[in-house]
Every structure is written in structure tokens, then in C-alpha cells.
């Protein structure tokens, strides 16, 4: 069982959350020429890192907020959690 610290509600069990995938994926800017390759990268291509992975989760059975979680995909260690709109310094 993962335990995820929701930035709004505190530490909760994994069962309250729903997964939302890779949080590092950025939608190409609107009103800009977008190449097929850029669009392909946004919609389909993923790094799927082994190790530190920044991902989206939604606290579905809680405050319903989307959050970002930095988790190790091999050990499941959770390093940090952030609000969805929080800037993350790498």
C-alpha cells in the first residue's frame, strides 16, 4: 500500500487516489505552429523513467484536487508531493 501525502489533506492511503500519468508531459502551446512530431510526443511518447518519476495523481476520494507526486518507479519511495500548479525547481 502506498501512502501519499496530499498537500491539502495530509498523509492518506493509495486507495483514495486515482493515477493520472507522467506529469512532465507538456501540451504544446496554443496559437503556435505545431509540428506532427511535437504533437506525437505530447500524445503518445513517454520516457517511462526507472527511478525518480514526476506524476499526476488525483485525490479522488478526498479533496478531489490534482497533485504532483515525485516517486521512485522501482522502489515506490515517495520523495515529495506538490500542488498541481506549483513550480518545481529541479
Amino acid at each position: 500500500m502506498l501512502h501519499i501525502k496530499c498537500p491539502y489533506c495530509g498523509m492518506r492511503s493509495q486507495n483514495e487516489f486515482s493515477y493520472g500519468g507522467d506529469a512532465s508531459v507538456k501540451r504544446p502551446e496554443l496559437n503556435k505552429e505545431i509540428s506532427d512530431e511535437e504533437w506525437d510526443n505530447f500524445v503518445y511518447n513517454r520516457k517511462s523513467l526507472r527511478g525518480k518519476h514526476l506524476e499526476l495523481w488525483q485525490h479522488l476520494s478526498g479533496c478531489r484536487q490534482w497533485i504532483k507526486v515525485e516517486r521512485d518507479t522501482a522502489t515506490h519511495e515517495i520523495f515529495n508531493t506538490y500542488k498541481a500548479d506549483e513550480e518545481i525547481s529541479q
Partner: protein, 418 residues
Amino acid sequence: MQKYSIFNLVKNAFSNHENWDLAWKDPTPKEEYDVVIIGGGGHGLATAYYLAKEHNITKVAIIEKGWIGGGNVGRNTTIIRSNYMHDENALFSEFGMDLWRKMSQDLNYNVMFSPRGIINLAHSDAQMNAYARRGNSMRLNGIDAVLLNREQVKEIIPMADFSENVRFPIFGGLMQPSAGTARHDAVAWGYARQADSMGVDIIQNCEVTGFDVTAGKINGIRTSRGNIKTKKVGLCVAGSTNILAEKLNMTLPIETHLLQACVSEPVKPILDRVVTFGAGHFYISQSDKGEMVMGGDLDGYNSYAQRGNLPTLQHVLTEGIAMMPFLSKLKMLRTWGGIMDMSMDGSPIIDKTHIDGLYLNCGWCYGGFKATPASGWTFAHTIAQDRVHELNAGFSLNRFSTGYLIDEKGLGTKTWIS
């Protein structure tokens, strides 16, 4: 190579079975090969076997980080089927069914192929309609499909829950009678033994650390046991695809996720089919040892852990008990996990790449085991001829950017819910 036969079995009985040849050798890597296959799982071993058998290319090495058959080919629920709706998946899998039927004779190794039939249960009128459509599509492609009503299903699997007030009543099901199971380890060992006898080097405990690519061409690979020169490299590493792709500066439409399976304590024969629950994601069969072999959903978030988390297992087994209540009385014997190369449309990729001499075989999601012979056969063709076969032409890497997706379930790009 020593042939496995009743005659040899009797002969070796006189020497207490101590004089059998080793099934495959343990060679040190040579300096150069015609083809290097990375990944000694079912698909890699089958690819090497068909390269030697169908294309006469025997200067081949299989490079495996762990030991052969230690990954997903030893971690699946052994189900073999071709009950697909889309032409690409259906024709490819049905070609594979034919290879499965001949496999034990072909490999001189008993893979215990048991065409016991698979039943996908339906729990609503809408689902019956969808199954009728899928069954008709299968029959148009020459695959056997039978639509069963509630009474017919009850006759075949009376132990399922047919009581009145259940949350997901059984309306009927779609059966593919020719589907079944096989002994998964035997598939890996059978391919390994034959490939080895034709000159393929199976190199275990050897990790690929890098690639030698110059001017868009592959020239060799770097491994923990030295550099190997080669003009052709086939990548068949399932859940580790992205790790190797990163070394090639490639980003692929693949995510790695964890799938669990489990077996119960062995019981007397009760279930002689493969059955899937239609209101969730749960599949079950009974092994020859009597264990109930079960599996279901992914753990639901990117994972390379190769071992699972309990909430998913509890969820999956709850579905199992809803379908077959007697399962609640069984003790669990073992659970395990494997890492799946989940593609963005749920269908595989067997293709050339933008790097000359680099071939890609990945995206099997949880359908990898049944595809073993067809995947090896078509991948060997793609590598040997440097062009795709018509059976895997649809499994192209560029289908995502061009829009020719093969989305069997219509789930889109959320790999963790498929």
C-alpha cells in the same frame, strides 16, 4: 543434439538419468555476430530459433541480463488465444495458434499445449451484442468463435455464480474453443534448446550497457562482458524497452507497468476452461497441478518493481469471488509480478527503426505469452529480410503519428487502465 523420445527416456533410466546432455551451452561472447538479440525471454529465444530455422542465420547471440525465462515468459498466466476483433491482431494471433499446435513436435519438447477453450463472460445485453460482433469478426478471419447463452455457459462452468440476486449476472459468453494454455517455462526451454543446437549463443548474466551507432547505423553493442560487433540488433526486452531506448536517444509510445498474478493451493480438477470475468478484469484457469491460476488489473501506476502491491490483488480477487464464490475458500499459495511494456493503443510494435540495423519488438501489454511463436517468427523475418512481413506490417512504430492505431479496447492512451 540428443533427441527427447521414449526410447532415450528408457535408455537413460538405466543410468539414473545422470547422462543427459545439457539442454543448452554456456558460451563466452564472441567478438562478432550476424545478429544480436537483446532479451532472452520467450520472444527473443523464438526469434533466434526462427532466424536459424527459417532464414539459415545461425551466427546469432541472445544477450540476457538475468537468466533465460526469468522474466515475463515465466511470470504470465499461460493463456493462449486469438479472440481479437481487428484484422491485424486477429490474423497475427491466428497464425500463432497454428505454430502453437505444432510446437511440441517442432521443438521436440513437450510444451503441454492444452486447447481447452476460453470463455469471456458477458453480464449485460449490451455486452452480449458486443461479443456477437467480436465473434462475427473473428469468424470472418477464420477463427473459431461460439456465442453462448446463460444456460450453455452454466452447463460448461456450473461452479460460477448463477444465483438470482448477484450484482453482475451472467448473461452468456463468447467462447473460442481452440484457445487454451501451455507450460510457459517449457516454451522458453524448448526454444532455447533448439536455438542452441543450431549454433545460437545464449549468453546469460550479461547486461547491455550501450550501443555503438555511427552515421545512423548500428555497428555493435557494449555489454558487461565486453563489446560485440554486429550489423543487426533486435530488441525484445518487454518492460525494459524504455531503459534501452533511452541509451539510443529514442522516446517510445510505451510505458512500463506492473501486472500481478497468483495461484491458489492445489485442489482437485474443477475448472477445465479458461474463464474471464466481463464486468471487471479477472481471468482464471486451473493448472495441471490443480492450482487455480489467476490474474487481473495492472497495479495502476508506472512501475519497474517486478513485485506487486496488495490493494490491486485484493481488488482482482474480489472480482474472482463475485464470479466464482468457491474461490473464497481457497488459500493463496504464491503471488508475483512482471513488468509490462504497455503501448499507447494496446497493440504491439514489431518494426524497423530510424537506426539502420536496429529492430524493435515491444508493446505486448499483457498479451505477450500467447504471441511468443508468431512474434519470433515475424521478428526473425523482419530482421533477416530487413523488411516487415505482411503479418506484422500493421504493428508499425509510426502508426501513432500517422493515426493508424489498432485500439482493440478503445481506451486511448491511458496505459494504466487498459
